[in-house]
């Protein structure tokens, strides 16, 4: 049986939730970043599923844009995390606590 639209949407919803829960509970900056990537890819799956459903290429084009943006985000984000690591010897976000109310 070929999976229908609802299955794809359910899968992408589950992946998005896993990513979201991961960002909230993980304390390692790299791990959090990976969870964000998982969320972006869940969205890509949604786009592709709808694109196929409507037989419309806009959704697929959107996915290309998201991929390009995710790559830029990875480059910048890892740079930021590395510069934090150089100064604090840690990538744990709980150590990022210089500023408090």
């Amino acid at each position: 049986m070929e999976p229908n639209l609802a299955s794809y949407l359910a899968l992408s919803g589950i992946l998005f939730t896993i990513g979201c829960v991961g960002v909230i509970f993980k304390r390692n900056a790299i791990g959090m970043f990976m969870c964000i990537e998982l969320m972006l890819n869940a969205v890509n799956l949604t786009f592709v599923a709808f694109s196929r459903y409507y037989a419309d290429t806009t959704g697929q084009l959107f996915v290309f844009m998201v991929m390009a943006v995710a790559a830029c985000e990875a480059a910048v984000g890892l740079g930021i995390i590395i510069s934090f690591f150089r100064n604090s010897q840690s990538v744990d976000v709980d150590d990022a606590s210089l500023m408090k109310n």
């Binding site: 786009f47 510069s83 990022a96 109310n101």
Partner: protein
């Protein structure tokens, strides 16, 4: 050969003249980058190139105002209306002021200025795209261009742990919010089969309502509220703001408080007010509209209360201004909801113009205040506590009096810009006659009253406290002086003679997209 595929292809509709202002800014950014790689450390030159690019873009933008420009171009992806024009002016103004403010800081901290100015120009390009984009793809790309550049700018002081922390928090929470925004866009695409806002509005408005999944539309709207809410620092998505604003270099904080916030308001307005309008007789549209206006009204109340109450308890000036910027996002949201609730197209356009005008008044005042904070902060932003301002009032009267003026304008004293901005957004919201919106305006007025405490505290600290440590008056450079003159004139001009400008912002024609396509 698949002939069917060829029939499906749409003819591209490139119209370079429409996006010329954006292109000028982007090209200026590239020139700054190239120049910096051949002649490094030429801070004044790269700053001058940036200013020239921004000014040129503003001139081109001004000629487009009222010119013969199509309502939409690039296959409906770029909208040309008053929303785009008025907000783009705000962005260009904010960036130019940021370049001027940073001159002091760039010298003091020995920042690689070429990178900094290039990033600032790319961020401006992203903001302009966000206000011009009439398609979810363009809005997303504009937002990411802006965000990625801003993440780097927040962490530009690489050796400083505070700056690193600020950048890391902004980056992780920012991309987290972008993921929500993107999921919202995917669901809206799924519900309507299109990413073009004009088409989405058309599908929702169709009497037989061909929107496939109303639940997807609602979920998509909610996700997008989270994504945009993060960018405008709306409670409960404001948690990142104080930390990021405090840790980022002061000129970058000034930029973040005025620029990206206004940009997010521009696309927020375009997506929700113009893209998901209330259509009489269509049940799902009514339900969607009621959901988002109610949700936003409640969140605006929380934003105003949280921002103002938390600002009272701050000892750091940058942190106080961060909470104040949260509160100001709440006031601008009042006008936003007024636009969403407006009963006629004209009332809606006026409400949109009031939000643009509000962001302009906030930008003018904020840039002036941050220019002084930058000047006084010294190396590594050491001097940003309230106590560092003790008793400077009569020792550096010029700085103290202009900072007092900016504080009063932020508070909303009559005759200043802040007062005009508030009056306009509140009255556009009251025009809808809705009970919840009226309650919101009452909360906003109470919030402004609370804000008197911390804005006046600044003035009290400067004029009535004894200074125990030595005070070395900072030298007011030409650039900072220019910012102060522009901001002081702006505060009075927008407060007293703003009629013409408001009419310009709201002149009928802001609705050209929806009208032209119907």
């Amino acid at each position: 050969m698949n002939m069917f595929l060829f029939a499906e292809l749409t003819v591209p509709d490139p119209n370079v003249s429409v996006i010329l202002p954006e292109m000028i800014v982007a090209v200026a950014g590239v020139i700054v980058m190239l120049y910096d790689s051949f002649f490094p450390k030429q801070r004044a030159v790269s700053g001058a190139i940036a200013i020239i690019g921004l000014a040129l873009s503003a001139v081109v933008l001004a000629t487009m105002w009222g010119g013969n420009v199509p309502a939409t171009s690039w296959n409906g992806m770029i909208a040309h209306d008053n929303l785009r024009l008025s907000f783009s002016f705000v962005f260009l103004f904010v960036s130019a002021m940021t370049v001027l403010i940073s001159t002091v800081w760039v010298e003091r901290e020995n920042v690689p200025a070429g990178e900094y100015h290039a990033l600032l120009l790319f961020a401006t390009f992203g903001m302009m795209m966000m206000s011009a984009g009439n398609d979810l793809v363009i809005i997303f790309l504009g937002l990411e261009t802006l965000s990625i550049a801003t993440y780097v700018m927040a962490g530009l002081r690489r050796a400083d742990l505070k700056s690193n922390e600020s950048a890391m928090k902004y980056f992780i929470l920012g991309s987290f919010a972008s993921a929500f925004l993107l999921y919202g866009m995917a669901l809206i695409y799924g519900a309507t089969g299109s990413t073009n806002l004009t088409e989405i509005a058309g599908k929702i408005a169709a009497p037989n309502f061909p929107v496939n999944f109303p639940a997807l539309l609602l979920a998509g709207g909610a996700m997008m509220v989270i994504g945009f809410g993060f960018k405008i620092a709306m409670a409960p998505f404001h948690i990142w703001t104080p930390d990021v604003y405090e840790g980022a270099p002061t000129p970058v904080t000034a930029f973040m408080a005025a620029g990206p916030k206004a940009a997010a308001f521009a696309s927020f307005l375009r997506v929700f007010v113009l893209g998901l309008p209330l259509v009489a007789g269509v049940q799902a549209s009514g339900y969607l509209h009621e959901s988002w206006t109610t949700a936003l009204a409640v969140m605006a109340m929380v934003t105003i209360i949280v921002g103002n109450v938390a600002a009272i308890m701050q000892d750091n000036v940058k942190r106080m201004l961060a909470y104040s910027s949260i509160a100001h996002a709440g006031y601008a949201l009042v006008g936003f909801i007024g636009a969403g609730m407006a009963k006629t197209d004209q009332a809606r356009d006026e409400a949109i113009a009031s939000v643009a005008f509000y962001m302009l008044t906030y930008a003018v005042t904020n840039m002036g205040a941050f220019a002084i904070v930058t000047l006084l902060s010294q190396k590594n932003d050491r001097r940003t506590q309230f106590e560092d301002y003790n008793g400077i009032g009569f020792k550096s009267p010029l700085l103290a009096f202009s900072l007092s003026l900016f504080m009063l304008s932020l508070f909303g004293l009559p005759l200043t810009a802040g007062f005009m901005g508030k009056i306009l957004v509140f009255s556009s919201a009251l025009g809808s006659g809705n009970l919840l919106v009226t309650a919101l305006v009452v909360v906003a007025v109470i919030g402004s009253a609370i804000s008197a405490y911390y804005y006046l505290r600044m003035i009290v600290v400067m004029f009535f406290r004894e200074r125990t440590t030595e005070w070395i008056a900072p030298k007011i450079t030409t650039a900072i002086g220019a910012v102060l003159v522009i901001a002081v004139i702006g505060v009075f001009y927008l407060g007293l003679f703003s009629d013409g400008l408001i009419q310009r912002f709201s002149r009928p024609g802001a609705a050209v997209i929806t009208k032209a396509e119907k």
